[in-house]
């Protein structure tokens, strides 16, 4: 990539079409290194060669950038936190209901604490199940674009 012909094109684009650009000009090319060589028995390492050459996927990766991925990760994290919080809240509420129905003094403090933690634990597991199911459902939704609202704005694009 270093000092290559792409830089010449980028310079001309910036010179002539600066106002028309919505994003910086990016170059996708082989790394500025010599081709991969392994000094031992095999002269070349195909895996290293693959990593250093622009593969089919790298253009797409440049377009979507880290932006989409980080958004996806934030979404997953929020979903996980929300699901677990709902589960824990439900566990707490059910435990309070259970606690009211049991006559006072009929169980020791140890049994009560154990039951409480059992309720919270099942709430936590319930939250994980919700998270898992929503994640799977969100993943499945990409196969049914019509159900998701038809012509939705693709990821990474501002609304039209």
């Amino acid at each position: 990539m270093n000092n290559g012909f792409g830089g010449e094109i980028a310079a001309r684009i910036v010179e002539h079409c600066f106002d028309a650009l919505d994003a910086p000009v990016r170059r996708v090319a082989r790394e500025g290194l010599l081709p991969a060589v392994r000094s031992r028995a095999r002269s070349c390492d195909p895996a290293v060669t693959r990593r250093r050459h622009p593969g089919d996927a790298r253009l797409g990766a440049v377009v979507e950038g880290s932006n989409k991925m980080s958004k996806r990760l934030i979404g997953l994290a929020l979903s996980l936190i929300g699901s677990v919080a709902i589960g824990l809240l439900a566990g707490q509420k059910f435990f309070q209901l259970f606690d009211k129905t049991v006559p006072a003094g009929s169980m020791t403090e140890l049994v009560r604490a154990g039951t409480h933690s059992a309720y919270l634990l099942s709430g936590f597991v319930f939250g994980l199940v919700i998270f898992g199911w929503t994640t799977v459902a969100a993943w499945l939704a990409r196969f049914f674009p019509a159900a998701a609202g038809g012509d939705s704005t693709p990821p990474g694009q501002p609304a039209k």
Binding site: I9, L21, V25, H53
Partner: protein, 197 residues
């Protein structure tokens, strides 16, 4: 031979092997017309297999096109498929400039670079790029083995709703400025651009 009126076509097996001839390429051939006041010229054609993707070693995988586009006097073509290779390779037309024809060796014997063989009159004018695929959201300006990879990436991005324009420069010197820059002139277009090789 070229100065004597012949039309030699030199095939260099790998472009990495062209460096021993760089003195002649850079000093002798490129300046001959200038040195002789236009009296002599050396319209030699040099064909070279170029670039990576063949798992070659350090002397079989280089991309020296930036050396040769910096060498005044030479035309540089970098076709991306068999038909373009023939169209730029044709040496019947009187040509006073020496020409480099860089072929992406990663495309040799690949199904996707096959094309119908054009007839004998098929000539691609130097300095004429080709819009391989129209698009609206983004432009990929590329050449050689990058073209098919950009097309594949564009097909992937089309699934996400992106419309990617792919421009094949075909010849690097002279560079076709028109298709590269015309899309950007339209107001209100969302466009970024990238190049790969």
């Amino acid at each position: 031979m070229a100065t004597g009126g012949y039309k030699p076509v030199v095939e260099i097996q790998f472009s990495d092997y062209s460096y021993p001839a760089y003195m002649q390429i850079r000093n002798e051939i490129s300046t001959l017309r200038w040195r002789s006041g236009g009296a002599w010229s050396c319209p030699v054609v040099v064909r070279m297999a170029t670039g990576g993707y063949i798992r070659g070693g350090p002397f079989h995988s280089q991309c020296p096109e930036s050396l040769y586009i910096h060498t005044p006097g030479w035309y540089v073509a970098y076709p991306s498929n068999a038909a373009d290779a023939k169209g730029t390779d044709e040496n019947r037309v009187p040509h006073r400039r020496p020409r480099h024809l860089l072929r992406a060796q990663g495309l040799y014997r690949q199904v996707f670079s096959k094309s119908f063989e054009p007839d004998a009159d098929y000539l691609i004018p130097f300095g004429k790029a080709k819009i391989v695929q129209p698009g609206t959201d983004m432009t990929a300006i590329t050449w050689g083995s990058g073209v098919v990879r950009c097309q594949r990436a564009a097909a992937e991005l089309a699934k996400d709703g992106f419309s990617v324009e792919v421009i094949d420069l075909r010849t690097l010197v002279p560079l076709d400025q028109d298709p590269s820059f015309r899309p950007y002139g339209r107001p209100g277009r969302r466009s970024s651009s990238m190049k790969r090789r």
